[in-house]
Subunit: 268 residues, 4 copies
Amino acid sequence: MSFKKDVYLLFDDKKGTKKGDAFLEYFISSLIILNVICIFLESYKDIRIRFKDVFYSIEIFSIVFFTIEYIIRIWVSDLKYQNLTPFKARIKYIFSFLGLIDLISILPFYLPYIIKIDLRVVRVLRLFRLLRILKLNRHSRSVKMIGKVLKNTKNDILVTIFMVFILLVLSSTLMYSIENEAQPEAFENIGQALWWAVATLTTVGYGDIYPITGFGKFLSGIIALLGIGIVALPTGIISSAYIEEVQKTKKKAICIKCGEQIEKKIIP
Amino acid sequence: MSFKKDVYLLFDDKKGTKKGDAFLEYFISSLIILNVICIFLESYKDIRIRFKDVFYSIEIFSIVFFTIEYIIRIWVSDLKYQNLTPFKARIKYIFSFLGLIDLISILPFYLPYIIKIDLRVVRVLRLFRLLRILKLNRHSRSVKMIGKVLKNTKNDILVTIFMVFILLVLSSTLMYSIENEAQPEAFENIGQALWWAVATLTTVGYGDIYPITGFGKFLSGIIALLGIGIVALPTGIISSAYIEEVQKTKKKAICIKCGEQIEKKIIP
Amino acid sequence: MSFKKDVYLLFDDKKGTKKGDAFLEYFISSLIILNVICIFLESYKDIRIRFKDVFYSIEIFSIVFFTIEYIIRIWVSDLKYQNLTPFKARIKYIFSFLGLIDLISILPFYLPYIIKIDLRVVRVLRLFRLLRILKLNRHSRSVKMIGKVLKNTKNDILVTIFMVFILLVLSSTLMYSIENEAQPEAFENIGQALWWAVATLTTVGYGDIYPITGFGKFLSGIIALLGIGIVALPTGIISSAYIEEVQKTKKKAICIKCGEQIEKKIIP
Amino acid sequence: MSFKKDVYLLFDDKKGTKKGDAFLEYFISSLIILNVICIFLESYKDIRIRFKDVFYSIEIFSIVFFTIEYIIRIWVSDLKYQNLTPFKARIKYIFSFLGLIDLISILPFYLPYIIKIDLRVVRVLRLFRLLRILKLNRHSRSVKMIGKVLKNTKNDILVTIFMVFILLVLSSTLMYSIENEAQPEAFENIGQALWWAVATLTTVGYGDIYPITGFGKFLSGIIALLGIGIVALPTGIISSAYIEEVQKTKKKAICIKCGEQIEKKIIP
């Protein structure tokens, strides 16, 4: 049992203070980054052919390592969630976000009927595992802060996305009506017009599709200007949430003369 | 009269708590989204021809349903605005924003002399009706917040738009003077130059029109850098308004003199 | 003298409350907008030839009107700045921003040796005169606010511009070194590279010039990502100044129970 | 020793109040700007050939001047850091950021084996030396402010960059999988896809590479919309830090209990 606890502490994200602990985390991170570099290099035809064996060896080693790690994590998960029964604790780990990532990043290897292209993408998902290391180190405060801000603004951002969605559908239908006759190939259907609308509203503007009629250009200008508002709105929302969060953690003042805590009592 | 009240409660946005109520809202929303999907798919020539009958049936059903709904809404609107006379209440509903959308989304069908292209755009306007459902659910606080912020910043945003407008006209005239000789076709008139100015100031930059002379490029750089300021200004305005609005709802302080809750009386 | 005062009140921006006052302002504004529309339309060759006489008549009328107006404004400027001697008051008006705009917008007509192209640009400068009407109406608070914010952030924005300038020069020189061999025509000199740097840093990205070498693309990516920071910095500066300005005008609270003013004493 | 002190005061950034002091700073700044203009002009082939001697003379003069200046700065650095031993003070200056820039901007001239292209870039690094003059003048407060804000937000910005990095790698791998078959030349490898991902996420959108398949366009739209969030997050972070910093310098409150000025003691 003591051995199991040692293993648990080795793999756990939060309690880890021993040297081996950090070493393991950095080893796993390095392995993930090595994997991503391999995926990157494999996409170059010349390199893929020449170093075929190297890539294969790294992949086999990674799969074996991550499989053993996954099994260990399942095994020790009852120590992580001690208030749950061993079975429930394991279920909880398996279906947690990082647990699913752990599984997804090794599973495809054992399922030969999944096509090769998907495999590559799935292996990149291992990147999410790097989030674990963020929790460990001195950036954890920032991660928590950004997490809280994104959580607090979720509803407002969703409403903004909904407004963007309506705007995109309206403007693409309108643009399709206007430009379809002048450019039957570029604005062939509303799907194409939607592609134009997204590129314009986000101010990307690839330049592969744009209006050529006077009225189309006028509408495009309006959409592009609204794009500025679309940037301003979420920025305002996030700024506001960020400032609020900073003030929450900081504004407990003490008067240095009389020693009393000066506290703004916030009534929600 | 009791039946009329039941119908009213079924269609009303705010008081609806019964099960049928939410069901009706979701049914209407689904029908609207189905309509939008149809408009989208109809723009693909192959699909339009093959599923002509399906699209026609859905359209007829929608028109019949929305017509009946519109008549019912007029009928029960005297219960919505109880402090008005029945006639005034009906007028008020008909000329409200959502009332007009309700009308506009069915009217074209009964006016055969309106051209087909406009019809398609008009049907997309039904999307605005989805705003009703936003009022119903848990996002209503966010909608109200964003609405208030946009209302509070209206004047400031208008002044910004006016500044953008002056900047666009000045820079397009200037650019037309500079580039007209070097690119008589691209910068054929100020309208073209205005199209360039909008694409540059909003940082969309399609790449279909851009200066080629040295001085033109210099001016274009200045405009693009001002574009950053043009983003920063409304963002600052909206952030500020957002923070103010959040603080209004949250910061209820206690007066240290009398111990009572301070309602902040704003002295302008 | 009473007539002169009447004339003064007619043309003055702030004290104007009479009906004729607003009428005059709106007449001048309309004339300016008519002028801008003419400049716009004149740039279309067909329209320019067909309506030559109309454009000429409008221009002559405008010049005559604006000349008379300019003389009147000089004449009554001693009433505007009553604490100055008549001569100094006139000098002050002539060299004020709006006074110079008034002069510049009529002067070129009397100087036949200035080339036609400049004339067109100069006439557009009349647009600045529309700023006068902003002072009159209900947007004046917003204009003042934006003005104050821009004034308060001037120093910080200048430092940002200086940083942008250094970044532009550094990245364009670097990119010229990298891409000159691969694309001797596109990156022919640092001027061209600077054009690329501006388009990238402001995220306009016309697509007429971009790196093709691996290292060039890497640098371009870094510059584009820094472009996001370049947007974030002035936005943060302006947001902060805006919030400060709003708080200055609003935060004077009164406790509704004991009636005392709760005031944060700000020590600069 | 008195002469050495005079020299020190002449070159020091902060204590300089004499006339010669500012003159020296402005002379150095002018020389740097002249150098940058030369680098700029030299990149134009015609100018480079015609004014070869002028450029060479300026370069020799600059190198001699900056070398003497560098030696003087080393010599007087023991007066700058008086609490250190003369040796340590010199080491400290040599390895300070501006000390290294001073060295880097003259060193390459004495190392003939470094290739010419690098030399040009290195000479541009002298621009950083202009930062010294910013410290001298009235913009020093803004520089300090921006410096503090960037320092305070460092951790949060790093986390944002990490998130951007994960997003870029994920989306480029995914896009490579999707588009590789349809456009084997444009999306030849993940490096190319990464170039697309950066151009899209930063909303630059050169238009040299973009998806053509339906699913690729869909993914591209998602990435572009996320690009808006990627702008919003650092903007919110910087705005918040800026506001905090402004409030720190301005809001010194009075304790209502004891009447003394409250120095806010922050309880984390």
